[in-house]
Amino acid sequence: MNKPNVDQLKDLAKEIRKDVLTMLSEAGSGHTSGSLSCVEIVVALYYYKLRHDPKNIKWPERDRFILSKGHTCPTLYAVLARRGFFPCEALMTLRKRGSILQGHASLVTPGCEASTGSLGQGLSIADGMALSARLDFKDYRVYCLLGDGELDEGQVWEAAMTAAHYKVDNLCAIIDYNKQQIDGWTSDIKNLEPIKDKWLSFGWHTIEIDGHDFKQIMDALDRAEMIKGKPTMIIAHTVKGKGVSFVEKNAPGYHGTALKKDDLEKALKEIEGL
């Protein structure tokens, strides 16, 4: 595949946002605002960075991506479908009985590398994969996307210590730092700041970026690959509900809610006009 340029990636992000909102609306439930905040990150990973082959899903040399914030799986599903892991028609079966698209990320979906949903477990899983690569003398890399509310979980910090201790430099994690969780602003519920200093003091290399700017995401992913002897954390500043003004204004309200049909029409128009 030729790697798309930034304009093409932007167009793809629009399509993914529309897919996400439409499939959630069709499902009648699901996590809207957190799915919208990580669109550019997941698109950049699957269209720019990851070494993978949708025709050979279990290719041993592939890079791995773990969606630790498993509730925002609609974004992953839409990207996997458009990338050719399974037919796009499946997207409209999200959350329905017998679907390959479960309510939270699951191994039953072709291309999905781990089942997640109970927060805090993905970074540990990524550590295990990255350490396995080292044992097998393979050069694949492992990527892991975490939510910011997820950082409240103690296990994340256990995994952070493990990755630094074992100098797991084939691991790159990304925080979708949209500053909000179900109950409201992260700063009100349990302050995460100084977030960069936390990761630095845990022995990680850190890169801070605008998580909606493709150039910055691509550049950060490239730079992470150059860092040796420690894992890298990309702190991606994002907007919860990004792309739909009324979702952005009430992001916690749309944390676990899908758009009604009328709102969906409005939202799709707004994204088209971006």
């Binding site: 540990s124 295990g128 350490l131 296990q155």
Partner: protein, 313 residues
């Protein structure tokens, strides 16, 4: 005097054997490396040994990552921390994905002794057997533990091995016949069946002798695999002997006795008694003294057998 060995020793020996024959075996520990007998593997295969410090949740999910990459991880810590502290990780990261993760929980049961209630795991069989895809194994001596560990490496899916700290004699002699999921008939009998698991098989063997002296012919089943449970052997015992006593060093709430009763009520209900811990926490004390105090003894089993025989039609 018979050679006394704890089941954790058989586990540790098997890990070293596995290290040699299976390059995919990795061992994970949470700061209790010598206590769980993972140190023998660590000394021989340091590059395949990973210490997580006091972080059981991270250890279990990392084990899942290893398994997703084709490794056969053995994650080792005390039973209370493995089954309790990391239960959600075992549920989602291991069992839901049906991964090849082997979890060894040592220091199971009241026989942990002086450490007291905080460290006496009495609930692991219950906590683990409710999880889909999970296999639960409770060896009764170090040789059975060794065989179970070796078999685990090539048995697909998640496995929980419940191991103990207290040394006991080797009472099994399998040669090549050990099979996960297949109960071992250690003595035949026609009046009643005693079903034991783990170290309670040791006491059940003594109870069998005591009952024989009283003219009672007791069958003895060693139910080393609590899940998947050997229905066939249990139903056969109920039909042929008409009364059952279960014996476990574990709470009777949801434990091995409960698992047996689930088979019986649906297939062949017969009078039954459960010997085990009666819905309470443990306390400090000498291991064997505690087992006696809590009725986890040959006397306790004999008493239950005499009671249940009265109910038999």
């Amino acid at each position: 005097m018979a050679n006394l060995k704890p089941t954790r020793d058989g586990f540790g020996e098997a890990l070293v054997e596995l290290g040699k024959i299976n390059k995919d075996v990795v061992v994970l520990s949470a700061d209790l490396t010598a206590s769980v007998r993972a140190n023998w593997f660590k000394d021989k295969y340091p590059e395949r040994f990973f210490n997580f410090g006091v972080a059981e949740q991270d250890m279990i999910s990392t084990a899942a990552g290893f398994a997703l990459s084709g490794k056969v991880p053995f994650a080792c810590t005390f039973g209370i921390f493995a089954s309790g502290r990391a239960w959600d990780q075992i549920r989602l990261s291991v069992c839901y994905m049906n991964l090849n993760v082997k979890i060894s929980g040592t220091h199971g049961g009241i026989s942990v002794g002086p450490d007291g209630a905080s460290h006496q795991a009495l609930e692991e069989i219950t906590l683990m057997r409710v999880l889909p895809n999970m296999t639960v194994i409770v060896p009764c001596d170090s040789e059975e533990a060794r065989l179970a560990t070796l078999a685990s490496a090539s048995y697909p899916g998640p496995i929980y091995l419940r191991l103990g700290r207290e040394p006991f004699p080797i009472i099994t002699d399998y040669k090549d016949s050990y099979r996960i999921g297949k109960a071992l008939r250690m003595a035949d009998g026609s009046d009643i069946t005693i079903i034991g698991t783990g170290v309670m098989v040791q006491e059940a063997l003594k109870a069998h002798e005591e009952l024989k002296k009283r003219g009672i012919s007791a069958r003895l089943l060693n139910l080393h695999t609590v899940k998947p449970i050997d229905k066939e052997e249990i139903i056969k015992a109920a039909i042929e002997t008409g009364a059952i006593v279960t014996a476990e060093e574990h709470t009777v709430v949801g434990g091995m006795g409960s698992a047996v009763s689930e088979v019986l009520v649906e297939n062949c209900p017969v009078p039954m008694r459960m010997v085990g811990i009666k819905d309470r926490f443990g306390e400090s004390g000498d291991a064997l003294e505690l087992m006696k105090y809590f009725g986890l003894s040959a006397e306790g089993i004999v008493k239950a057998a005499l009671e249940v025989l009265k109910l038999k039609k």
